[in-house]
Symmetry: C2
Subunit: 375 residues, 2 copies
């Protein structure tokens, strides 16, 4: 189990995999990986994070050079489950060992301005945007982009945090002050018909695979439902754009790209350089889960098929989990519980609803939805 030379692309059949972050994504990676014979060490500053029960935890901050070096040296290869870690941490690891994905996708995904610039440079449509570093910048940007627009922090935003909608010039000062002087981006607010995302994967060997597009619904900025529609009309464009991004970045691992769809056109909203909530349906609804495929990708192994088997809807369990008896009495329901302390607005788990027909899948998903709303 000695680690390979940096960048050699060769990993042992039973690998010791280091993961930066130990949340539920790390947990689900480890559940898939242990089944395949691997073992895991997680670097995470938290006390008893979800994934820690599935391996060893190096409890340290993400910028702890010594801890990062330890992870890099002890493991056969490194990956991450969380994109808001310092790029310097990834660079530090990469001096000792292979880390996938690497510093470039991370640095792009961490900054909304760089992300939009990069996507646009590849010919992927994005909303009009301007970098905003002051209230004066904001007023100038609003002149160009118009209303409504959305002001977001450039960095460290997730699940709708650090965002403010601006519907008129009067809103600008309050929106700017809510961001407490953080560097920001103003984006045209797209009056979209729906939100879709694609989960895509590229192996260290260069092989690529694309999951069926998911149709997402958010509430308060948090994803709560993903539907896999048979023959989704957005599939071809989403696959085309994802392929460009994966190839452009020489990317290794699973990536998700979220899009707005307006009059049949896709407009990229953001990319996540990791396994993604909108891909959780693949655990019960696809030939190969996104977690298994992420590991196959970073190990340089052939990828598994990404087709759906039957129909699937994923529902997030946020803040509270309804009683198991009710949910599991609905056919085709699988409850995934991350073992976290309940707290309002916190993602505690998800439900994958499968069915042999789309109609049955909707009926079942709506029955689960009623239980979630009643909980």
């Amino acid at each position: 189990m000695s680690h390979p030379a940096v960048g050699s692309g060769v990993a042992p059949a039973q690998a010791h995999i280091g993961v930066i972050g130990a949340g539920q994504l790390g947990q689900m990676l480890a559940l898939a990986g242990i089944a395949m014979g691997h073992r895991f060490t997680f670097l995470d500053p938290g006390a008893q994070p979800p994934a820690a029960r599935l391996g060893r935890q190096i409890q340290a901050e993400y910028d702890d050079e010594r801890a990062l070096a330890q992870l890099a040296v002890e493991c056969d290869l490194i990956t991450l489950e969380f994109e808001n870690i310092p790029v310097s941490a990834v660079e530090s690891v990469s001096r000792h060992n292979r880390i996938s994905p690497g510093a470039k996708p991370l640095s792009i995904a961490q900054d909304r301005v760089h992300e939009k610039q990069y996507l646009a440079s590849l010919g992927v449509p994005v909303a009009a945007y301007r970098a905003v570093d002051s209230l004066a910048d904001l007023h100038a940007a609003l002149q160009e982009i118009g209303y409504p627009a959305i002001l977001k922090t450039r960095r460290l935003g997730y699940d709708g945090k650090g965002q403010a909608v601006i519907r008129a010039a009067d809103d600008a000062a309050a929106a700017w002050s809510a961001l407490s002087g953080h560097a920001a981006i103003l984006e045209q607010m797209i009056p979209f018909d729906r939100e879709v995302s694609i989960v895509a994967v590229r192996s260290a060997s260069g092989e690529m695979a694309f999951y069926p597009v998911g149709q997402n619904r958010h509430e308060g900025g948090i994803l709560y439902r993903t539907d896999i529609l048979p023959n989704d009309p957005a599939q071809a464009d989403a696959t085309h754009y994802a392929r460009r991004v994966l190839e452009g970045l020489d990317y290794v691992g699973v990536m998700a790209i979220e899009f707005f769809e307006r009059q049949g056109q896709l407009i990229a909203n953001e990319m996540a350089p990791r396994v993604h909530n909108s891909g959780h349906w693949t655990q019960n609804g696809a030939v190969t889960s996104q977690f298994e495929n992420h590991l196959r990708a970073i190990l340089g192994w052939p990828l598994g098929a990404t087709e759906s088997v039957g129909h699937c809807v994923m529902l997030n369990l946020i803040g509270t989990i309804p009683a198991r008896m009710g949910m599991l009495a609905i056919p085709g329901v699988h409850v995934h519980d991350y073992g976290k302390e309940p707290r309002p607005g916190r993602k505690l788990g998800h439900v994958n609803v499968t069915a042999p027909t789309r109609a049955a899948c909707i009926t079942r998903a709506e029955a689960v939805s009623r239980l979630i709303q009643g909980a």
Copy 2:
């Protein structure tokens, strides 16, 4: 997380589950259970058994009363992944907490004479058999049963160990002496057309579900391949017999029953009161895996659907594991690796091969099979 009153049938949504045994079956139970929010403690005498990395291990012999009491008191409910533990251990646990399955199915499954008696008492066909406690018994039994016959130890046999075929009276003395005086059973050797098994599950609530029948191939007494045939003609009878056994025993959990099929008639060979190797295909080929359903059953929760999704073949990896690159390049292949030291004859993992058609599934399975034979 306090444990319920003995036999109350109520378990917390996030349960602390105690498992007697920590082999690969315990590991796969824990992988399914942790995804559902549960945590695990294993009682096992081994050093670093496969499941131990997925929870706490109480390292103790299976008859260690103190360790059994600790497991029973600390966990919310108890199950087992290994049937060759003393019945007294199960009885000991059951004085403190609920254990599923319980002492009765275990005591029946541990003794081939009791097993045959019990199955026959429920109207389940079994081969002609006689209890054999001496060479004189053996000669008398051979007179009644005829040739060929198979002499087996009554207890502690698995994977074909402790068995001898008797083709003529001359073989009797050698067969008897090979058993070193262990209590034995002589069984008529059925000239069967094929071997099939059914994996069935009954919840603490009484709900039952039955997986599609698997067609098994053994070599040297060890299972090496299970095929799920569409509309297997043995399904109705296998389900009928399994239902009788589950109801007769007031059984809780997953059970497997192996049958010989001869001219369309099923003859029960043995039962296993636990998740079973011939049910491993359900991880990638069924709506709900046998591991998830075993846990739902012992928790008293509604069972998941047992239908297959697409087509599936399971191949065991015995003694050695072929290179991942070759296996994973075949579409629909999922490699499960138990993380055990390789050793001749040892089950190290299994491969589930899935495909949308039976023909494709066979082609893929045969490609994997060639890699296994070449390894």
